[in-house]
């Protein structure tokens, strides 16, 4: 590594800031301003990775996001390491640690390289074809395939970095800070538009900023000098917000875009502390200008993938921008004029250029003539037929093309080189345009897809729309931007541009070789190791759609998403099938444009913010009293309160016994509560519930069942008549928001004539439910003046009382079958009233119980839980709740569906009780019920929906839905489990207190 590949160039590299980094365990140096790729190249390192399938040595090929080979594992920390990072994009920082991927034991000696010699046995579709048979062997194959799949290693620990999201709004969003984007930004700003300018590199200016030839001139200045002045101007422009190191990830409909800004990845690890790593911008733009530029295409020939083979534009950038020579003996291979700029840069930097190989017959453009005048050898009408050098290119073999360009003729010529710069023309970056729904058209002249139709307020300019010559780029950008923004004049109208004009074009998608195709390796997709042979094989095997060819050969499916490979793949398909490329179309470009970390996508929504939860006003008391919590919707509900070393079963048995024998207390604050007011409130309830509400008196409560229009049970709850036109409806905890939305929907869209107002008051009230034989005594201690006699305050009634200054709504309603009072107070008094109940109940051993005990208590009484015993396919009749369907009402939601031919079937699944023959055997919820388990296939009759051990009944009880269940009462059935079969008997759904006597204490 003693070669000095760094040339003097202090423009973009700060040679006073030397940075050390470690590549595959070796300490190396670069400078501030380098990318990891340029730093590696300055140390004469090309070989950085192994290809995915054949494990061929691969080197740095590009200088941007299209890089297929130089993808490295960054960092060695279990939490912070990041796989598949493009060395061409990551800025060098002091202490950077990186390693090659997909090789073992090392990148220089990789055992997997044997695949290269087995490659004739590994054609496209090899895995599909080989590992399918016999089908039962898949599990064995999978183990080995999984081990060899994948590139880098994922971090194994939680990502400790901070990520952020921010919304942004602008008049004009400009994507890409190259010359056309900068001109558009200035024109828009001069028109007083608010401009947001995104650039994925650290500096503005695109490729023109380091342009160093004397041919391109703008307003009689060197083009890069002219551009620098424009950038200074733009940086001081108050209308323009510039975000650098910010790459656009996704362009959605309605000009909604996502961009990712890198904030700390270029800093040394110590400087990152407490800083946000990346920020995701969610952008709404009135208008969008896409100036994302173009990327250079490689050429497709035998062994075109060796380390040292690079895009010509990248070789130029490494010299002109980073001051790094990619090789000391260079050869250029091209089909267009742009590579001659690389020739000039090589020459100017004093780097040896052995020859230029050009597939065209000749060219006489200004830039080519200039190169000719320098005495550089140009092989016209020649192609490369082979390259040599396993870990670094050392020779190319060239031959003359025949007239048709489909074969080679004459003698082989060998040229020495340690760097081969290739150029196959340019591909406009239309990814974002197509992501946004835009349609492309094919330009036969340049063999490119360019933006055509769009439904959005957007414009593509510069090389992103297919302009490649400096004068076209500038003049069309100015003209199109003005038209797009409806501006008459701009400060660029008199711009004067001098540049070389390309006058010869020639393109051959798959270059001919002296060997038959089957003996060559012309790579298309470097990362996925797919070759032109694979494409042709796919076509022979009958794959016609380009989407199918892509998936079969995996062309374009690497982390670079085919940025380099796709055009050649399309071209070869078109040539082979004699199709016009425009008719073939492209594969779909999907977001993100470059990979995003999960951290950026989730932003701050991690840990406790991943899914916010709701707490009742009594939550702290539950925590203090050792409650275990259950998630119900977004609520945290107390599940059970274990004492000492109690298991859940122990705690539930104790809690439910206490509730039945003395007194229990439940936090019922989470139930949905809807305040209903208006002169038509009663009519409204009649329409939304199955039962009749007309005769409900003020101060009384009624249970209601709500259906969907399809007749299936949707929700249930108790509604209290507070006043003449005033009701308080309760809903299930999980269904509250949906019920509210459904009721609003009917009111606004079907029954706008009704005078009804709905207000969600779920969060406004806290509810303590006190139940058990001693409940009355406790309530009496708290509300001394309240008459609790059955005459004055019967079951299903309501009283409004005051406790000091606190307004309390007390309902005598029961979900446990016990005498029970629910005290509703304003939420801020919730904990106070709860503690008051606990204090008053102390002498009765009042026992707080959670949702699990609540479920057991109600199951003993056969009360359903919507969503547990129902699943959207149960009618009230299926639930044996015929009594709640009003016969008198003309209509209510779902009524008509209750006598559809399907809902009146008698063999529907119906709710029943189940008792196990062994009273200590507890069924599993969800277990299947069968009649005969020997007759195959076994006929499933239904399943268990709720199952508990009842301490009061001293036996196991269950609810289940069962086909024709109503008729099966008393029948013996089976519940087969994995290790045994449980015998059960179908029973009534009410297990305890069938006479409803406990309700009166």
């Amino acid at each position: 590594m003693s070669k000095n590949l760094r040339i003097n160039n202090k423009q973009f590299i700060d040679e006073t800031r030397k940075l050390s980094f470690i590549f595959n365990g070796k300490k190396l140096y670069g400078y501030k301003g380098d990318t990891l790729a340029s730093a590696l190249l300055s140390n004469d390192i090309h070989l950085v990775g192994r290809s995915f399938k054949y494990h061929r040595p691969r080197g740095i090929m590009t200088s941007g996001s299209e890089e297929p080979n130089a993808i490295l594992q960054i960092g060695n920390d279990d939490a912070l390491t990041e796989p598949n990072v493009r060395a061409t994009e990551i800025e060098l920082y002091d202490g950077l640690i990186c390693n090659s991927q997909n090789c073992w034991p090392s990148v220089k000696f990789d055992i997997g390289g044997i695949n290269n010699f087995l490659s004739p046995l590994l054609p496209a579709g090899f895995y599909y074809k080989t590992f399918m048979w016999p089908a039962s062997f898949w599990e064995k194959y999978e183990y080995f395939i999984r081990k060899s799949a994948g590139l880098g290693k994922s971090p194994t620990k939680q990502d400790p970095d901070m990520y952020d999201h921010r919304y942004m709004h602008c008049d004009i969003l400009i994507i890409g800070g190259g010359v056309s984007g900068l001109i558009a930004a200035k024109i828009a700003s001069d028109d007083n538009k608010k401009v947001l300018l995104l650039e994925d590199k650290e500096l503005l200016g695109g490729s023109l900023i380091y342009d160093d030839n004397d041919i391109s001139k703008i307003d009689n200045q060197k083009s890069s000098e002219w551009l620098k002045k424009l950038i200074e101007n733009i940086k001081n422009d108050k209308n323009i917000v510039i975000k650098t190191r910010t790459s656009l990830a996704a362009y959605h409909n309605y000009n909604f875009l996502l961009a990712r800004q890198n904030l700390t990845d270029h800093l040394s690890v110590n400087d990152r502390n407490n800083k946000i790593r990346q920020r995701l911008y969610k952008i709404r733009a009135k208008k969008v200008i896409i100036s994302t530029g173009a990327i250079e295409r490689p050429q497709v020939f035998h062994n075109n993938d060796r380390p040292g083979i690079m895009l010509a534009s990248a070789v130029k950038k490494y010299i002109d921008y980073y001051g790094v020579r990619c090789g000391l003996e260079n050869v250029i291979f091209t089909n267009n004029d742009s590579a001659y700029e690389t020739a000039l840069s090589l020459h100017k930097s004093g780097t040896k250029l052995n020859a230029i190989v050009d597939i065209r017959n000749n060219s006489s453009s200004e830039i080519v003539n200039k190169v000719k005048s320098l005495g550089i050898q140009i092989y016209w009408n020649h192609t490369i037929v082979n390259t040599k050098g396993y870990k670094r290119i050392n020779k190319v073999t060239i031959m003359k093309l025949n007239d048709k360009g489909n074969d080679v003729i004459g003698k082989k010529i060998e040229l020495n080189c340690d760097c081969l710069a290739i150029s196959g023309g340019w591909t406009p970056m239309v990814h974002l345009f197509t992501q946004s729904g835009g349609k492309l058209k094919f330009d036969n002249k340049d063999n490119i897809f360019v933006p055509d139709k769009t439904n959005l307020n957007q414009l593509s300019i510069g090389s992103a729309k297919g302009d490649f010559e400096l004068d076209d780029v500038l003049k069309n950008s100015i003209k199109d931007t003005k038209k797009f923004l409806q501006i008459e004049n701009s400060n660029f109208d008199k711009i004067d541009i001098q540049c070389s004009k390309e006058n010869e074009k020639k393109n051959i998608w798959l270059l001919p070789s002296d060997k038959p195709l089957s003996k060559t390796k012309p790579f298309l997709d470097y990362q996925n190791d797919s070759t032109a042979k694979d494409i042709k094989l796919a076509l022979r095997e009958g794959f016609k759609s380009i989407e199918h060819v892509k998936r079969y050969t995996t062309t374009g499916m690497g982390t670079d998403q085919g940025k380099l490979a796709n055009m050649h793949a399309l071209g070869i398909v078109a040539d082979t099938t004699n199709t016009n490329m425009g008719d073939l179309g492209t594969t779909t470009f999907r977001p993100p444009y470059t990979p995003l970390t999960f951290g950026t996508i989730v932003g701050r929504n991690v840990g406790q913010f991943f899914d916010i939860f709701r707490k009742t006003p009594m939550h702290d008391w539950h925590v203090d009293n050792n409650a275990k919590f259950e998630n119900v919707g977004q609520w945290k509900r107390a599940w059970y309160y274990p004492k000492n070393s109690e298991t859940m079963h122990d705690a539930v048995q104790r809690e439910s016994k206490a509730a039945r024998e003395s007194c229990g207390i439940l936090d019922a604050s989470t139930l949905g509560k809807i305040d209903i007011q208006g002169t038509d409130a009663n009519e409204f309830l009649n329409r939304v519930y199955t039962n009749a509400w007309s005769k409900l008196q003020i101060g009384k409560c009624r249970y209601g069942l709500m259906l969907n229009e399809d007749g299936m049970v949707y929700d249930d709850g108790v509604t209290t008549k507070l006043g003449e036109n005033h009701y308080l409806m309760t809903t299930t905890t999980g269904g509250a928001a949906n019920v509210m939305s459904k009721l609003e929907d009917y009111l606004q869209t079907e029954w706008p004539e009704l005078d009804v107002f709905l207000t969600s008051v779920t969060d406004h009230y806290a509810t303590a439910s006190v139940c058990g034989p001693n409940a009355k005594k406790i309530i009496n201690k708290i509300f001394k003046d309240l008459d609790l006699s059955d005459e004055s305050f019967p079951h299903m009634s309501f009283k409004e009382v005051k406790l000091g200054n606190i307004n309390c709504r007390v309902m005598r309603i029961s979900f446990t079958g016990e005498l029970s009072y629910e005290i509703n107070v304003e939420a801020s008094y919730g904990k106070y009233i709860w503690e008051k109940c606990i204090e008053a109940g102390k002498e009765f051993n009042i026992t707080p119980y959670g949702t699990e005990t609540m479920h057991l208590l109600r199951a003993e009484k056969g009360f359903i839980i919507v969503g547990q015993d129902t699943d959207g396919t149960m009618t009230p009749v299926d639930l044996q709740m015929d009594w709640i369907i009003s016969k008198k009402k003309y209509d209510f939601i779902g009524k008509r569906s209750l006598y559809r031919s399907d809902t009146v079937r008698e063999d529907r699944k119906q709710l029943v009780g189940l008792l196990t023959d062994d009273p200590n055997e507890i069924l599993e919820e969800g277990a299947q019920i069968v009649k005969d388990e020997n007759k195959k296939p076994v006929n499933m009759l239904g399943h268990v929906t709720s199952s508990y051990f009842s301490p009061t009944l001293k036996k196991s009880i269950a609810l289940a839905v069962l086909k024709e269940g109503k008729k099966l009462k008393g029948q013996k059935l089976l519940v087969p489990m994995i290790d045994k079969t449980i015998k059960v008997t179908v029973s009534d759904t009410v297990f305890l207190d069938k006479e409803n006597e406990r309700i009166n204490g």
Partner: protein, 91 residues
């Protein structure tokens, strides 16, 4: 991500809204007079066309009002927004 011009609040992000399916399917006034097929037509049958579709949308995380949207399903362009009770526009 659509930008929806709520007739009561103005332009808001799609994330504030929920879609309520096809519009202009009025609940029958006399369901009991309908046979099973007629009721099923109301209950289950919905169009799924490529082109202009009339839909109900609700500004759920805003004013909670329902309104109608004429949307081109081929490109998601919202052609027209109009209030509940208004007739669908001719497009």
């Amino acid at each position: 991500m659509f930008l929806i011009n709520c007739p009561y609040c103005g332009e808001r992000d799609q994330s504030e809204f929920v879609s309520g399916g096809e519009a202009h399917i009025a609940r029958p006034k006399q369901p009991t007079e309908l046979n099973d097929d007629q009721w099923a037509e109301y209950l289950f049958m919905r169009k799924n066309i490529k082109g202009i579709q009339f839909e109900r949308w609700n500004h759920a995380h805003g004013c909670r009002k329902w309104f109608n949207v004429a949307r081109d399903t081929s490109n998601d362009k919202i052609e027209k927004i109009y209030k509940m009770g208004e007739q669908p526009p001719k497009l």
